[in-house]
């Protein structure tokens, strides 16, 4: 099943074009990895999917991005509703400087998802359990989230993202600031999360893309060079550039 369908997406920063004609289909309940050298536009593309580029004044997006067959670049699309459905985890862990509980309950609170304290407690607990953080923090839910280790903070951010039960989770290099053990934990978590969510992950590590994803898209200089199943991209790419990047000849 195709969850997201991007058609001829162009992105401009002022006069400079950052993405050229990107068309990409993303499968539901699978992990899609976006790889490519720095500055190739993979993060920009990711931020198109929940319209985070709106925040940047000079950035403009053209083309269609259909999520559940609805064009999110359409004027009638409400960004608040869109971002409720499409969660995001950033490169650097960015918990709010509030308690763990407040971090996870923030989304459900502003979207009015819990009628009572018990319901909220439940949401917080299940979100933290799904983010594999519950056992480590259940006794200190009311301590500041910024007091956790880097890996724990990133899992807290994942718990925060899934607390509103999004259909899609966007991950922008979620492990680049973490050590190998924390990275392994997050990767395991991604594998678990794909059962309920569609996941798109931007990564610099080809090994990580190979480990966690089913589909891979390779970006270079603002163009989507090639995309397909991860197996095919890594073992038998069609394009010479992809081949060169995968084998480490540039990037």
């Amino acid at each position: 099943m195709i969850k997201i369908k991007a058609k001829d997406v162009d992105v401009f920063y002022g006069k400079k074009q950052a993405l050229f004609n990107i068309s990409l289909d993303i499968e539901e309940n699978q992990v899609t990895a976006l790889i490519g050298p720095s500055g190739c536009g993979k993060s920009t593309f990711l931020r198109c999917l929940n319209r985070m580029n709106d925040v940047i004044d000079i950035c403009s997006v053209k083309g269609e991005i259909l999520i559940n067959d609805f064009n999110i670049n359409d004027k009638s699309c409400d960004v608040v509703r869109l971002r409720e459905k499409i969660g995001m985890v950033f490169q650097k862990p960015n918990p709010f400087p509030k308690t763990l509980y407040e971090n996870v309950s923030y989304g459900p609170t502003i979207h009015g998802m819990a009628q009572s304290k018990q319901e909220m407690d439940e949401i917080v607990e299940t979100s933290l359990k799904k983010a594999a953080l519950w056992e480590e923090v259940k006794d200190r839910l009311h301590e500041p989230g910024t007091g956790l280790s880097g890996g724990q903070q990133q899992r807290l951010c994942i718990a925060r993202a899934i607390s509103v039960r999004p259909e899609v989770i966007l991950m922008d290099e979620p492990c680049s600031a973490l050590d190998p053990i924390a990275t392994a934990q997050i990767e395991e978590l991604i594998d678990e999360l794909k059962k309920e969510h569609t996941i798109i992950i931007v990564t610099h590590s080809m090994a990580q893309a190979a480990r966690v994803s089913q589909n891979t898209g390779f970006f270079h200089l603002g163009q989507l060079i090639e995309h397909g199943s991860t197996d095919k991209i890594f073992k038998n790419p069609d394009n010479k550039k992809t081949q060169d990047y995968i084998t480490g000849r540039f990037g």
Binding site: M52, F90, P95, F96, R160
Partner: protein, 422 residues
């Protein structure tokens, strides 16, 4: 080659040492000036916190006070105290002639009649008896007792006559002159008589001005800062506003005083000399300071926090109100306090809007005429009487204490509530 290198290295070390020395001497100079300044103020001002009293026996003679037998409270209120007051002063020297009696009277404050009256009102049983009453010494004798008065000047150049000094020395020898903590310095309003003048009016005036200033400047500045930082598009117009806010911060304060005079008093007809007008004028001055501080602390909130909130589906307003503004509050508040501290020490604009008027009542609201602490310093510094010299320093001490407390508070807020980012 090697030798050359070593020379170069030595030179670099020497240059560094010299540089450190310059820095140290700069700090030393600053500390020296500060010490001299503080020492001067304290050594001149501390004596203002003491007040000299003459202990004079007063006979509460019912006849002289025109009182009947068994007088009521009202009778005591209305009784004539001038004669017994005069008599008790004249009795200090039984051989005094009329001129000398006059001089004796001037050894205490003109308030002495009231002090005697209060004594009797407190204890009506005193009628017909004699009691030693504490009377405020005149400001000149106060200075004599504190050792600040040039006794060796020729008599015609002094306000205290030889006769008064003679009687005063007798009183001192008999232990009838006492020095006590000067409560009236804090409870009295300004007065033409140095011994009675206090800072209550100017202190309350300053407090009211600062409150008015805070209530106007803080909300306006914070809203302006939030709009400019979080919502306004970046274009020529907002650049223009930004430049002008910075310009506003550099405008000399007296210009704001003229603005207050021309607009608030002349056009809006607000009451002259009041903390209300003073506060509004000061708020114009404080506004840019708070805006700049608030914008700086909004800018200091990492963009990742905004992104996190937006990505959770918070609207821009929610992102701002739930996250950015609370996180920027410590910086904004300490900037506000520093802005208020500046306003507290401001003199020129208040002089222009008439807060320099002689006010001998304590204001009960921002609509009552009042002075302010720095203006009070200015008024007293202009006065000729010797008694005001120590008052000026004492008033400076109070103002400085006030400022130090405010700045301390700003520091505490900044350190205690500042969030650490992950």
């Amino acid at each position: 080659m090697n030798k050359n290198k070593e020379q170069l290295l030595n030179k670099r070390y020497k240059a560094e040492q010299r540089f450190r020395l310059y820095g140290l001497s700069a700090i030393f100079m600053a500390l020296l000036f500060l010490t001299i300044f503080i020492f001067k103020i304290f050594s001149t001002g501390y004596s203002a916190f003491q007040k000299t009293w003459l202990v004079v026996p007063v006979t509460f003679d019912a006849e002289l006070m025109m009182l009947d037998q068994n007088p009521s409270k009202e009778d005591l209120q209305d009784a004539d105290y001038y004669d017994i007051a005069l008599k008790s002063m004249a009795d200090l020297d039984p051989k005094a002639n009329e001129d000398q009696e006059n001089e004796l009277k001037r050894m205490v404050s003109y308030f002495f009649e009231k002090e005697i009256k209060n004594e009797l009102l407190n204890d009506p049983n005193l009628i017909g008896k004699t009691k030693e009453v504490y009377l405020t010494a005149s400001d000149d004798l106060d200075q004599v007792f504190k050792g600040n008065y040039p006794r060796d000047l020729p008599e015609d150049q002094r306000r205290v006559s030889d006769y008064q000094l003679k009687i005063f020395d007798q009183l001192v020898a008999n232990g009838k002159v006492e020095s006590k903590f000067n409560i009236s310095f804090f409870t009295n309003a300004d007065s033409r008589e140095a011994e009675l003048a206090g800072i209550a009016s100017s202190f309350m005036g300053s407090i009211f001005s600062i409150l008015v200033c805070l209530m106007i400047a803080f909300p306006v500045a914070v809203l302006a800062a939030i709009y400019l930082e979080e919502f306004a598009p970046k274009n020529r117009f907002t650049d223009f506003i930004e430049v002008n806010i910075n310009n506003l911060a550099a405008v000399p304060s007296i210009v704001f005083g003229l603005l207050g005079l021309g607009v608030l008093l002349a056009i809006f007809q607000l009451p002259r000399s009041t903390p209300l007008v003073g506060g509004i004028t000061l708020s114009l001055m404080t506004l840019p300071t708070i805006i700049i501080a608030a914008r700086a602390s909004l800018k200091a909130v990492p963009p990742s926090i905004r992104e996190a909130a937006l990505a959770m589906g918070a609207s821009r307003m929610q992102t701002t109100m739930h996250h950015t503004v609370p996180l920027s509050m410590p910086g904004t508040l300490s900037g506000t306090i520093i802005g208020l501290a500046q306003a507290l020490g401001e003199t020129a604009p208040l002089i222009l809007i008439g807060m320099v008027a002689f006010v001998n009542t304590i204001p009960g609201s921002p609509m009552d005429p009042a002075a302010s602490l720095p203006v009070q310093i200015y008024i007293w510094a202009e006065s000729a009487e010797r008694g005001f010299v120590e008052k000026v320093s004492a008033c400076i001490m109070v103002l400085l204490g006030f400022l130090i407390i405010m700045n301390l508070f700003a520091q505490i807020i900044r350190h205690k509530f500042e969030k650490k980012w992950s």
